[in-house]
């Protein structure tokens, strides 16, 4: 009359889909929030469109490798950063949401594995971001003058973004593991905090890296965002593929795109295993010292 519960591949996929459905329901539960988010995207695009009107001409010469036009450059930067920020933050927020809502123990007690648990709690963020990216693109194209290059290679850009997202997920897992190691439960972890500063300052989301002092440009080389933004913009905005825009490009004598992909792969190879290892060790630590539990 009783049964033992096994999670085979089919059951795992079903569980994953259940997480997606659940997160979409939670996201759309408060209809007003969705509208506010939409308005936020619109106003964000409007701000950068206005900045482009004011300062677009001044930075034009720096944007040659990326098609030369600021508004498309910055909108694409925001879109790519939205994707990579999700990869960076999803493991942390997934775990935190489960903790504060009292679901962490229920998930940890269930037969789902740690990777499924992390992916399941994070996947909602990715789905949301995917929808937001479509909205960004639609609004950008319709109202704010986003122009994609005639020779845009979306597959190539997508490949770079994917590898960068994988690398950022590794960093995100490392950050999320600090929830367990040092109780970073207040909405921020030191790794994401440092990466966030570098992204805003020196990755090239809002302005080209080449306008910054050399030593700041080197700081930008420490995060995967810089390489992904460089390569994806070249591929989508139809810029040139030869101009060296990041200090690392000058180190190996390779083409910028090849250097970018090698750097992104190197980041992924280091951060993903390290992130999983740290997360797993963190869970073990939490289960050893018992400090994570809300069930007392």
């Amino acid at each position: 009359m009783t049964e033992e519960l096994r999670m085979d591949r089919k059951a795992t996929l079903r569980a994953m889909w259940a997480f997606v459905k659940r997160d979409l329901k939670i996201w759309t539960y408060f209809k007003l929030n969705f509208l506010i988010e939409l308005a936020g995207i619109f106003s964000n695009l409007a701000i950068y469109a206005i900045i482009a009107l004011v300062a677009g001409e001044a930075v034009k010469s720096f944007l040659k490798p990326y098609g030369g036009e600021y508004v498309s450059y910055v909108i694409l930067g925001i879109i790519l950063n939205t994707i990579l920020s999700t990869s960076l933050a999803a493991p942390y927020w997934g775990t935190m949401e489960a903790f504060w809502s009292g679901r962490l123990e229920i998930l940890m007690i269930s037969p789902i594995s740690t990777p499924l648990f992390v992916t399941g709690t994070s996947i909602g963020g990715y789905v949301r971001t995917f929808i937001n990216v479509l909205i960004y693109l639609a609004l950008g194209l319709l109202f704010f003058g986003l122009r994609l290059g005639g020779t845009a290679d979306y597959a190539l850009a997508g490949f770079y973004i994917l590898i960068a997202a994988v690398a950022c997920t590794g960093l995100g897992l490392m950050g999320a593991s600090l929830i367990y190691f040092i109780d970073a439960r207040g909405g921020q972890d030191p790794i994401r905090w440092i990466v966030g500063i570098l992204v805003g300052l020196a990755s090239g989301v809002y302005y080209p890296l080449s306008i910054l002092p050399e030593w700041v440009q080197w700081l930008g080389c420490l995060i995967p965002h810089t390489y992904a933004l460089d390569a994806a913009r070249r591929a989508i905005l139809g810029g040139d593929f030869k101009n060296l825009t990041i200090p690392v490009h000058r180190l190996f004598g390779l083409t910028p795109l090849l250097t970018d992909i090698l750097m992104l792969i190197a980041f992924s190879v280091v951060t993903v295993p390290l992130g999983w290892w740290m997360y797993d060790r963190g869970v073990r630590k939490a289960k050893t010292d018992g400090r994570l539990s809300r069930w007392v």
Binding site: T2, L5, R14, A18, R22, I26, G290, S293, W295
Partner: protein
Amino acid sequence: MDSESFVIQTFDLTKRFGAKPLEEWRGWTEQLTHLVKEKILKKEKKEITAVDHVNFKVKRGEFFGLLGPNGAGKTTLIKLLTCLLYPDDGTALVNGFDMRKERNEVRASMNVIISGGWLGFDFALTVQQNLEFFARLYGVPKKLARERIEEILTILDLKDKRTEVPLYLSSGMRQKLLLGKAFLVRAPVLFLDEPTIGLDPRAAYNVRDFVKNRLNKEYGITVFMSTHYMEEADLLCDRVAIMHEGRIVAVDTPENLKLSVKKGDLVELKVANMTPDLAERIRVLDGVDDVVAHMMDPVAGVGFLRVHATNSRKILAELTQLVEKEGAEIKFIKNVDPTLEDVFINFTGKRLRE
């Protein structure tokens, strides 16, 4: 009895925690400071033993109770057995799987209903959707999950609440919904941590009835329940373990446990104007073995006295005289049978609700 007859077996299971209260672990800066102190400056680490070399066995299909006051280590023990905490020493077998080496198998063998577990429901999902999500987490096939959800909603009288979100359900209904999860996933072992805490008497009755008659008797699920309600343990459990300060001090059927403390007669008095030293005065009477006093209303001085005597008839006159002489008023006096509370006092020297 061979080892396969036991669904839970513990072997010197032990868990220690740092003595610092959990509330003091606030942010990551405090954590780093602590790490520096502990790891680099090598400051002495104090520990408390929450579960102390615990050994017991639970038979397959049994309704097993873990009785103890708050802080006895009951929840820690359940967390250990459900792999939510890792032990420092010892181990346990759950459904034949070692909790140290076969954690996935242990998790696949059990279901847990934790106190306050309704917090884990999704506020944006309806009752039915929450159950569906839970079924997916446990790999229950879609068709089977749908059938069982219908059955659960009918049995638990929640059919008309299926489209409501758990946030707006009463506490009794939420607890019923939690138990529905146990019904949805019929794992061999069900751990229940204080399942009726905070429920009104009617809701508590329904929960007990469902767990005992449906889950345990009808479906043969082994139930491991922690509680600090002695009446609940007495009523439901085939066997009870008494837990005190991290140790199991006694394990037996409620009847045998009560018999073990029945050495003479037990007299219960309800008294008004009870003075703090009344129990001590009674204790020195000839023929009195022990006295336990419990003040119900300190303002009015109303309380209970349980007097253990070799022969209650012989002390009755002297006892009533003494109580009245001390200025107290006897509301009632009667011979009673020992309860699990008396068992607990006998083994620990303390009351369950102290």
